[in-house]
Subunit: 319 residues, 6 copies
């Protein structure tokens, strides 16, 4: 039995010992059949997550082991109803001297923040339409910090730290290439639409570590919230009468493609249609690439909920 | 052959003579098989409309007989492909001395504007929640003129002058009664939702006489436009942080009931669900009552497009 | 550990002791892993229900502890897979001297039977159409007892004793108000439709205590059953040729609104459409009000299956 | 120009002369562009139908040339908007001495009435379940005349005189064979279901010559009407408590297969499912055989509305 | 406690002892809460299947007890979460001297292989179209062995050894009868379509004992695979230009009836439509008859997934 | 009145004279109300098409003026029911000395054939997987002529000469860029899928000038036809056992994305999903760009049937 902390909790096997730091993502109280209190902890590091039970939990334990708390834990990996479960041997909250940080325990985009902001800045610099450029710049300034840390969704695609910026930067790259192949496309409009289309998620989602929906997110959703934000920003910049503002709102409003998918109007401008397709393409490639990485040639991935529950096959032959 | 102008163009029969004033709603140029230009005019008064052909139309005719122009016309009612058509014997644009006004030629709500504004004011006066009351008051002040003249839709229900205010006032009456039967309902919230739910139509539709969709209406629709307006108004009134604002936006956003019908979020607050149902109830009763008025007991109405294309039966026995 | 029977089984917490009378709603035999027989009992009083296990159940126990039997039980509230479970310390069937009655153990409408029948009688008294009035009176007479005890459904809305009558009486109140706002509505027809629309449920459902579907209910459903009943009743009253009978059948037949929802014909008479909408409105308000009562301001209700699985938010501010 | 009456109006070509008797199926008044009245007549014999215009129609003409009147007509086959149209040279109502009868002018089933009733009687004779046999016998007795003359539908399949009986007799033949292949099927139940499933159409449709829907047919439909009829008949025969009655009602109720297609309950008894499939099979074969008869090998039929608008191909090779 | 092996594992009850041979259909490794390895075995004979746990499984056990291995087992029938489970007292792999064969442990069609091939041969002998007959003969020759052993599906209908041939033979019998009732049907085409329609399943499914989908089956499906096979066979027989080949491919391609059900083209030839309906009829009768056999009169079957999840009622009265 | 032949028939206005060569796409016989024969001709050149009537058409005319015949025609542009119609003054079939060719009268891809084949060859040259490359090369060789002349569809997108090759070449360009952005994509597989996905259209469609569906196209469709072709080709090249062949068939089979859209299997391999999206993207851009070219900034296009009947707006501001 040796310490396997190096490989991360997402890669341990049944029977492994574990000794290291983990972040509590969720903590639920329970009662055993003979009435003893216990805690079910969902623990994670940047590689994945695992469930653990803390038996005979005292009132103090309940107040110590709460979501977003980092813990030092030693245990053994067992199994419960077909899933790995961590048997806790010892556990304590982390201390300042441990020098561990919440941000170390969440999955991150494969590209660094600096590089992401650089790419974004480059795209904005390319834009020639002053109105669109000013609006985009103002939003980047307002939300820069959150934009670089938020995921693009709570699950399915780009659901990791900086996922939102990573998604935007990938979409900008596709747009750039498409514009070269089809010069009729209005690049500035497409860029502006791509950069702003999901920024409403910053108000729709609660944060990076334990991402849930805010009340505003539940009752309004990121699309109408963003239409309102663009309206307010246009007033501030005194460009509210420019047609660019209306068209940009339309791109954001229609980017889910259909009423059933949350866009009260379908795309009715060429760049709106293309924004929708690029969004789909990048989200699907992100999901597919990450799922296929986890399987060997000749195998199928797990079923992907956001892709109509399909399991994908990885061929045996290679490029 | 006698002059039937008294009964209004909506009530003439084939063979009737006609002599009176009509409003041009639409004018389309055409060319006969031997190349002669003519105008197809869609003419209306407050009772209905009829098509007419102006043969051998000169360039001058084309510039005189345009939409929203009132004309003095004498003719005979004939028939073309199963529909009445007015054969023009003489026609001239109206003159100031004729003392006729566009507003005389459009259908109007069965309740006077004064009475409508009185009813609205009463409802607002009943409200006790200061935030909701202030927002509603501000909108009524901003849009009073348009609110009292706009139709509630381009067709289907309340599609006449003051239709929007008429629809609101009827819904308020239903809400008042429901609140008495179910005191759990938050009356202030329901009233505010009813008054504001369709005000976005003032920007979505082009006007009263020849109602079409504005560009903003086509690309955004009245629901997202109104969310933005409430946001801006709340900032002005410095109440943007109150939960009432969020809930009111949700009521407006969800009042179509389903994503497929244009509401990106379904009703998730009790009063939002009830607003949706009252809207449906009042719109359907308006359509049904007006269609059934046109048929005799023992007959079916024409098919009503907005009610799944059903034709309704009017029973022979009476209340 | 004190006796908490006062507050009712629907309000006990894990750890509470319990000593009181409960009604058996369901009793299922099981076998432990080492082959010992046991009974799983679903027990209820007017406030709610709880599961209990009776270990080492003898043949005699199996014959004593059956559905609709009241038992005197002492035990402790524990937990099993996240749900409360009653640990039985002692249990015996109730005796005549206990003076407890099945009707004390089921949830009831918030309005007394006397008041419900009074309201129904008032409505019938208001009716002026002799044919409709006679039919309605005859049905009330035939089914009075069941009508006042049956629930309106097995679950979702008005699923409690006298629920059917409660639903009818609420709908009549809405109809009365709507008729005042829209005098075109045929009140007699609407009243007759409301009173009869769900009476078929008396044959579709098995009863008040352990409500299930009868064979006839499963194979025909309450709507076609009621059409047949109206036909038979009309023959008895010798009014089968009156148009009122046909229209009344149509109201009952179409009250679910759509073929997919069980109405082979959609509403094709104004009052049929309004009956459908009032039915919806009252059912939804019943569900919403009862769910929202259980949560605090700022919280969401549980998901409501019959309302497209939505969870509803209770705002923080009040009327 | 020779008289082509021998081949029937359904087989004439543009340019043919016509002289013979025809039945008026529909007569509509119109007005020419210069205000002259005319009649549009839809005329038919057993082979098909054709449109004709009677110009300068007098008031007397309007009262003579009405639906279900037979006329003696001479004319020429022309064409209007791509469809054949009969140019009337002379026309007069038929006289008693002409010895022509409405029944000669409608399409008929390919099997004689005598043979149809014989087949029906044979099937009933084969039945051994007394309850089912009595009910079926009673219905045959009650409706024999109409059963042998009604079509099975206004269009699509078996839409000719005796079509209803023809459809039943074909279905009985399929059922008999299926019962031999699958002896588990309850033949008596299947026979009873087949014979009664569409008898409600006798009240749903107006008759044989100009088949439309009755008011009862529009507001209730043949399925609920038949459930009621079986209920009344069972009371008369005092078998209303037998399970056969309930199951037979279920077969009739569910024979359209799905709620969307008019059956509030889907088939929940084996013979109900098989009744639905035999109904489908026979209706489709009737449509297919009659459409394919009209085209040559190597051609497609016209699009068949009731078969999802498909056009069917007739192969070049033969059996 | 007596040995109940005679009645087969599908008919044992909780508490029965068992001693006999069973086939392993599935074997899954698990780990108890205290880390001990065990095997979950799914065991079957021709009458049904049961789960069993082999506790403290050694590495050797893991290699001995694998799918398609027959074992000699003694144990007792217990229960786990409402389902029977076999408690293993002793178990060993079968030996050659046991003289047991995998084919004895799978469910079989109720008709012997010899009789099935005889029926098939008869049908082919009846065919008069040389092209169709040659193609069918060639396929029967190529796949005879598999055709007589394969099931028609992994579940739902004819999911037993020889199920494919059984399904074909039943369908041929229905087709023969239908052809007598409707002589317009091209019997040769219908026969050829029936025999070939599901032969692609031989490549789509993995075999008889533990039937799963092959990779080709998952990525292409039996319909496109069979179109290709008919094309290759037609080339071999040098009949690829005959229209019969195209029409036969169409029958196979369209036999699922709709795009949503896997047929890229709907039936566009009469016999294609009839093939689809016969396929449905035979599959449904197979499911219904087998499910109804398991219940008593007055009961409902379990819900049948492939029949829209309906449970079917077995009436109390009999034929 | 001057000769406007220079600008092409697609650009003429009502009142213009016309004198030039046109191709007959369709010729239909008709009969006037007084029985005179005439021909309705649909005439086209590379710029568009127009209808014309040839009155008093003789038998000789009927045999001269047939589809795919080029004619020399002088006439005047009039109007019929809102659409331009050519009034014929004189018309004669073209003569060899006119030196006009059918290929001059059809719309062509904006890229020359030489350039298209060059691009295709480059892509194939880039491929490294020998099996995929050999199959693609073999198909290009087999169908080169047709591939370079066929349209990609009968209407909607790339519906012009060389449209198929143009569509393939555009998709290859997108694929190349995507592969650079997402190197995980198997470029060879994607290229092979793109090149072959629509080649079945060569057998599904009848040709370039008057494109209709072949019998095989109607009964099988291009997707199953192409699966069969790949199978036959793989046998010829003796690579039928390679997994590449199966995966390539899957890409072609699934490229419509869903069963409802004609793919019996949805994409289950990453490159299949991406092929589907690139196909969509290129088809939509082709439609959008061509429709938007025809309108001015500030206008909407006509409704595009293949894009859910949407009309697209062209913004006033520019890139």
């Amino acid at each position: 039995m040796k310490n396997d902390v190096k490989k991360g909790i997402g890669h341990v096997s049944v029977g492994d010992a574990y000794d290291g730091f983990l972040l509590i993502r969720e903590a639920t109280k329970g009662l055993t059949s003979n009435g003893k209190p216990f805690l079910t902890l969902m623990l994670r590091d940047a590689s994945g997550e695992i469930e653990a039970k803390l038996w005979d939990a005292s009132k103090e334990d309940e107040s110590l082991f709460v979501p977003e708390q980092i813990v030092k834990l030693a245990g053994e990996v067992g199994q419960f109803r077909g899933k790995p479960q961590l048997k806790i041997l010892s556990v304590r909250p982390s201390q300042p001297t441990d020098d561990v940080h919440v941000s170390d325990f969440v999955e991150k985009a494969p590209i660094e923040k600096d590089r992401l902001i650089e790419k974004l800045t480059e795209a904005i610099f390319e834009m020639q339409n002053a109105t669109l450029q000013r609006i985009v710049r103002a939003f980047i300034k307002k939300y820069q910090e959150a934009l670089l840390t938020y995921p693009a969704a709570t699950r399915n695609h780009h659901e990791y730290a900086s996922g939102l910026a990573h998604h935007i930067v990938s979409m900008l790259a596709i747009a750039k290439e498409l514009h070269q192949l089809y010069p009729q496309l209005n690049k500035d409009l497409l860029y502006a639409g791509i950069i702003l289309h999901d920024i409403g998620k910053i108000k729709e989602l609660s944060g990076v570590v334990t991402t849930t929906y805010t009340l505003e997110g539940k009752l309004l959703g990121h699309i109408p919230m963003m239409i309102e934000e663009i309206g307010l920003m246009a007033e501030e910049l005194q460009v509210e009468e420019e047609e660019e503002v209306l068209i940009l709102k339309h791109l954001v409003l229609s980017h889910h493609g259909k009423a059933e998918w949350g866009s009260p109007k379908p795309p009715l401008v060429r760049e709106a249609e293309i924004l929708h397709l690029i969004d789909l393409l990048d989200a699907k490639l992100n999901m597919l690439n990450r799922s296929l990485e986890k399987v060997k040639p000749g195998e199928f991935t797990e079923r992907l909920f956001a892709m109509d529950n399909r399991a994908f096959y990885k061929p045996l032959f290679e490029d």
